[in-house]
């Protein structure tokens, strides 16, 4: 049994160290330094093992410190200045609750999956040896903490010494109950599971808190009696635990949700969620042809994240606009304040337009639900097809983004006018045009980046460092725009010129380069 435990422990350490190396290799820049043979490097492995030992020791106490701290806080909450009197009572019930939720064997974990299911280790030896380790960890972890706690709270020291024993005996007893239950029912699940566990928890919580309010609590002597009973039940439980044979069945039951390991990976979750966006109703048909047909169906079957989401955005903006207009009409005193918003805070609207933009959502759905598979077809990478679809997509994105943009672009001049107007009538036009051009700029920017840098690989992982940098830069530039202090007219005109020039240049780049750059990354 000790051998089984050693092997399981080594296995756990190995894959944890490998996981650390693996995650290091996914960080840009750092991945260049980490060579492939780190997985084989004895020194690195030793370092990893040392790190792992520290972690084992650290986790021995950290969780328990937090647990005891919270228990003290709760006791304080109900019985201020009388914590020492009641904390034992609460500790006892809290431990009972703990036995329902944290009792090792019925918890699903990667460790158990690798050990028992993949490596086919002897389930009984694996289960019992790891359970003993778990019980020892619990005992050792609690011991110094309960002693210190007892001293700090002025509770008799023998209580502090006996509490860790109480915790492990409770856990063993609960485990025995579960084993007997599994044996009787062939269900291989803990007795308290689902609704019964919630009911039991609620009852135990009530007993923990309400009884003391009526001045009923578990005294030190009663605690000793409970401890004595638990010792007897634990002896019986240990006998049952060792007699029990079907550990493998327990593991198979608790691990049935874990074996789909893809679920632990972010890209897979993203892919699954994005695929769920597809909505199919017969009425979402299209009478167009070619690229327009293909793209039209894409947009219609992604209504939820595209048109619907934009409509909601627009409705909210419209609501804000109406409220603002009402405020302006009915509270004339607000005019001075509000009059300044459109002109002085125009730079802030870059940031707002940045957030309203649907570019990220659209490109992500496009890739996962469409281009990811279509790019494997060579015809889809013909320049005419790439550019034909690019046009359709750009039209859609501009249209989507324009809907909320129009509300802002029309709303700002209206509010400006209603609150007393401006000295230069050109401001109205500049406000309108600059908001619209910002919106179009963002639409083009996102789609062009997608086509020029196509950042995803076949597993829908974001692979391009450049793309991430451009994304971060876009955010920083938008943020920086807020700080700029120039007259609205100049600012607005600059925004318009920048948007137009940027758009023309990037469209030329797409037409020249996209047939080469738009493919799945390796």
């Amino acid at each position: 049994m000790l051998d089984t435990f050693k092997i399981a422990f080594k296995l756990k350490t190995t894959y944890k160290v490998n996981a650390i190396i693996f995650s290091l290799k996914r960080i840009p820049l750092i991945k260049k330094i980490v060579p492939d043979d780190w997985y084989n490097d004895v020194n690195i492995k030793t370092l990893g093992n040392v790190f792992n030992i520290f972690r084992e020791i650290g986790t021995l106490f950290i969780g328990k410190i937090i647990y005891l701290f919270f228990m003290f806080m709760i006791t304080s909450l109900f019985f201020e200045n009388e914590e020492a009197n009641y904390i034992l009572h609460i500790f006892i019930f809290s431990t009972f609750i703990g036995t329902i939720y944290k009792n090792y064997l019925f918890e699903s974990s990667n460790d158990n999956y690798y050990g028992v299911i993949l490596m086919r280790m002897n389930a009984k030896e694996y289960g019992i040896s790891n359970y003993i380790y778990y019980i020892l960890r619990t005992f050792i972890g609690f011991m110094p903490l309960t002693i210190i706690g007892a001293i700090l709270l002025n509770i008799p020291l023998y209580i502090g010494l006996l509490l860790p024993l109480f915790v492990v005996l409770s856990k063993i007893t609960m485990m025995g109950i579960n084993i007997v239950y599994a044996n009787k029912t062939n269900k291989y699940e803990p007795l308290f599971n689902g609704v019964p566990s919630i009911v039991a928890t609620v009852i135990l919580c009530i007993l923990a808190i309400v009884l003391p309010l009526f001045n009923i609590k578990i005294s030190n002597n009663l605690f000793l009696i409970i401890l004595f009973i638990l010792t007897l039940t634990s002896i019986y439980s240990i006998k049952k635990i060792f007699e029990f044979k079907d550990y493998l069945k327990i593991y198979k039951t608790t691990l049935k949700n874990v074996n789909d390991f893809d679920k632990f990976n972010n890209e897979a979750v993203l892919r699954e969620n994005t695929q769920k966006q597809i909505e199919y109703k017969v009425k979402y048909d299209s009478n167009k042809n070619g690229y327009a047909y293909f793209h039209d169906l894409f947009v219609k079957r992604h209504r939820k994240v595209l048109t619907k989401a934009v409509n909601i955005q627009s409705l909210i903006l419209l609501g804000i606009l109406v409220l603002a207009i009402l405020l302006v009409v009915f509270v004339p005193e607000s005019h001075d304040e509000i009059n300044r918003v459109p002109l002085k805070y125009l730079p802030y609207f870059v940031f707002i337009m940045y957030y309203l933009n649907r570019g990220t959502v659209l490109t992500q759905s496009l890739f996962i639900n469409c281009d990811h598979s279509m790019l494997t077809y060579r015809f889809f990478r013909r320049p005419s097809v790439i550019l034909g679809l690019f046009k359709e997509r750009l039209k859609t994105l501009i249209k989507l983004n324009l809907e909320p943009a129009l509300i802002i672009a029309v709303g700002l001049p209206i509010i400006l006018y209603l609150t007393g107007g401006t000295s230069n009538n050109l401001n109205y036009i500049v406000l309108f045009v600059s908001i619209i051009s910002m919106s179009i700029f963002f639409s083009i920017h996102y789609l062009v980046m997608y086509y020029l840098l196509q950042p995803y690989n076949a597993n829908t992982e974001l692979k391009s460092g450049t793309y991430k940098i451009v994304q971060a830069l876009t955010y920083l530039v938008c943020y920086y725009m807020i700080q700029i202090q120039v007259p609205t007219l100049i600012y607005g005109v600059c925004t318009i010129i920048f948007s137009v020039v940027y758009s023309i240049i990037s469209l030329i780049l797409v037409y020249k380069l996209a047939p080469k750059t738009f493919k799945i990354r390796n």
């Binding site: 695929q275 597809i278 070619g290 690229y291 047909y293 293909f294 639900n369 598979s373 060579r378 015809f379």
Partner: protein
């Protein structure tokens, strides 16, 4: 018409996967590409399909003179079928025909095409995301052969199909082979011997044709396995 590959090289980090491929594939034949796991079969296909940048060498079509390979020259059927999940089978077909009309010689109706790969009307109106693996595979194959590309790269296309569908696909390939250069990678020796006109193995980064000469199937099989075992 021929697909000519000259001194094609490709490495990943320090690992040289393709170490100078020299080969000429002719039209009208199905080439069975055999190689051990990790030998680089898919890498070779990805290079020809320009999914991967090659490090050295060249490949082109020889059609009464050397010419560059264009996107429309290649059909590539990958082993895990990729189809646009938001479309129905029928819609995917319509889109493809729409944008390739002038390239397709003997254009048939959508229903005729669907009949050809035996996908019934009901199924053709379902979203592709709800298709089984085999049905997706058939759609992928259909899309790749409708426009009659000169080169067809098939990466283990039959491995995961049920016996009936696999047999249908085999017949289809035999029917269309006279107009194409077909390279068919597989791990199944029997399939390669049954379907392919030539066996080519990819071993140690180079391509080598295994001549059948006048060997019977059993001896030929041993010869192939010996060639694959060579270290």
């Amino acid at each position: 018409m021929e697909l000519v590959i000259e001194n094609l090289k490709k490495k990943f980090d320090k690992k040289e996967v393709l170490k100078g491929i020299n080969f000429t594939f002719e039209k009208g034949k199905i080439y069975g590409l055999l190689g051990r796991n990790g030998a680089g079969k898919t890498t070779l296909f990805n290079c020809i399909n320009e999914d991967l940048e090659i490090d050295d060498g060249s490949f082109y079509l020889n059609d009464n003179g050397k010419r560059e390979i264009k996107a429309e020259d290649i059909g590539y059927v990958v082993s895990t079928p990729n189809v646009p999940e938001f479309l129905t089978g029928r819609e995917f077909l319509k889109f493809f025909i729409d944008i390739n009309k002038e390239r397709i010689n003997d254009l048939k109706t959508i229903d005729e095409y669907l009949d050809y790969i035996k996908i019934d009307k009901e199924d053709s109106k379902k979203l592709l995301k709800d298709y089984s693996h085999g049905m997706k595979n058939k759609m992928q194959m259909l899309i790749n052969i409708i426009s009659r590309p000169n080169i067809l790269l098939l990466d283990e296309p039959l491995t995961s199909l049920d016996v009936v569908v696999a047999e249908e696909m085999k017949d289809m390939l035999k029917k269309i082979k006279k107009d194409h250069i077909i390279i068919f990678s597989t791990h199944i020796m029997e399939l390669a011997l049954d379907l392919c006109d030539e066996i080519v193995i990819l071993n140690k980064g180079v391509l080598e044709k295994i001549d059948k000469e006048n060997l019977d199937n059993e001896h030929y099989k041993n010869k192939i396995i010996d060639a694959l075992k060579e270290e």
